[in-house]
Amino acid sequence: MKTIRIGTGAGYSGDRIEPAVELAEKGGIGYLVFECLAERTIAIAQQARLANPDMGYDALMVDRLRAVLPACRKNGVRIITNMGAANPLAAGRKAVEVAKEMGFTGIKVATVSGDEVRTLVISENLRLDDSGKPAAEMAEAIVSANAYLGARPIAEALGQGADIVITGRVADPSLFLAPMLHEFGWSDTDWEKLGKGTVVGHLMECAGQVTGGYYADPGVKDVPGLGHLGFPIAEVDETGGAVITKVAEAGGMVTTDTCKEQILYELHDPHAYKTPDVTADFSGVRFIQEGPDRVRVEGANGRERPETLKVSVGYKDGFHGEGQISYAGPGAVARGRLALDVVAERLETVGLKADEIRYDLIGINSLHGEGLSQGGDPYEVRVRVIARTRDKRNATLVGNEVETLYTNGPACGGGAAKSVKEIVAMDSTLVPRAAVNPHVDMLEA
């Protein structure tokens, strides 16, 4: 039975670089997939593209390609990635340039475009899911709108012989499903196989999160070698049967428990995990430990795909202004609480206009609030005040009033820091499948 091996080279845009090199060198893989495009990343990339039409792709793409290309060329590993972000074509041209600089010729680089739908979302005045607002009302604030594409255009690019496929917004599991479509010739309506492949993609898309990363809890869940955590390999056969594993000498581990945590990650209804390719059914999945760091995935299924495509919409939504300062030793908590009271009074005095404001004591209540936090006096606490404001001037007031605690607040405050950030918030909507036309372009080094 035909089997392919797919590795995950990155699970988010800032992920470690070396594990991908290890996979390309020692993983025995045919495909290396880099998932680097969080919801908001594409909105920020779109702003970069507006400032410079040659930019708008992932900032680490060049570093990642330089690191893995030698081993990928040597071992015949094909690369699939969404590092094209808001500008797959520019990313493709850059990839060709990198390959040439490194002396690799004959490399075929495909780009997948067509996810960009900002104009459509505004002209059709689509309603946004979270805010409930019609898009036309927010037209000026909307910086990006990208439909989630599926696996098919990537599979087409592979069919045309691409060594590297660079996309913009594509559903994360689809990046992994694409080589299965290409290698096994699965049809677009073979729902069961598409469901199985999508479960594999979902397990793989966060890289180290299935090999023991984000899992360790000393004394309860111990993980060997987190400092050199290996990224996962999926061995998939033509029926959709799959095993999750890793390079033997890499750190981390693959167990039924690491797989259970990851299959439930960012999952809502296990019976209906919707992607552009399929409505996958995770409810029957079982994991079997076949050997050390080898877990078999069984029981996934699928039904007809949704008729609409999800679109993530990025819009400017004001500013976050923040300030922090620390207190330690006897009375640290009391001084921290006094500092928060002083800042609250000061922000009222200076007339802060904010949509939302929050007063935290890091070490006491900053993560889960007073209700769930357990009390007790830590040796040190960190004051944190943050507000969401409409304009930059008001955002700036927050950090300034925390900083003035140095000379005006409780005793011995140290390590003050302040920041102001423009917010690009994300919302979503749906578009008809027929309104989106993905296309593949091919370049050659």
């Binding site: 979270d130 984000y214 309860v220 945590e261 299959i263 019976h271 993560l367 889960h368 769930l372 917010i423």
Partner: protein
């Protein structure tokens, strides 16, 4: 005892929705945890954070429950002013829940 002694958990985020898994280590603990950790109890437990409904899905094959908590992330990961805007640490709060 705390759930931490018999189960493990991970939080995921999508928009303003947080999902928390609850996975028991030993299959024999599954029914007991299912009876004790109802969606109503989880909604009450996180009442200071979660503004919307809590839906529970059962995954008996995995000896796991999945709690989907609506309105849990301060308006959404990208807008939230919470220190942990993704709510990634919420699983640890669930692990602190006492069960008999």
């Amino acid at each position: 005892m705390k759930l931490h002694e018999i189960a493990h958990s991970r939080t995921g985020d999508k928009g303003n929705i947080s999902n928390i898994s609850l996975i028991v280590y030993k299959p024999e603990d599954y029914e007991r945890v299912k009876a004790a950790v109802t969606p109503e109890r989880v909604k009450q437990y996180f009442s200071s954070i979660v503004t919307g409904k809590v839906v529970r899905y059962e995954l008996p094959n995995l000896h796991a429950l999945n709690f989907v908590m609506h309105g849990a992330l301060g308006g959404g990961v990208t807008r939230s002013i919470a220190l942990d805007a993704h709510g990634k640490s919420l699983a640890s709060a669930l692990m602190n829940m006492e069960i008999s």
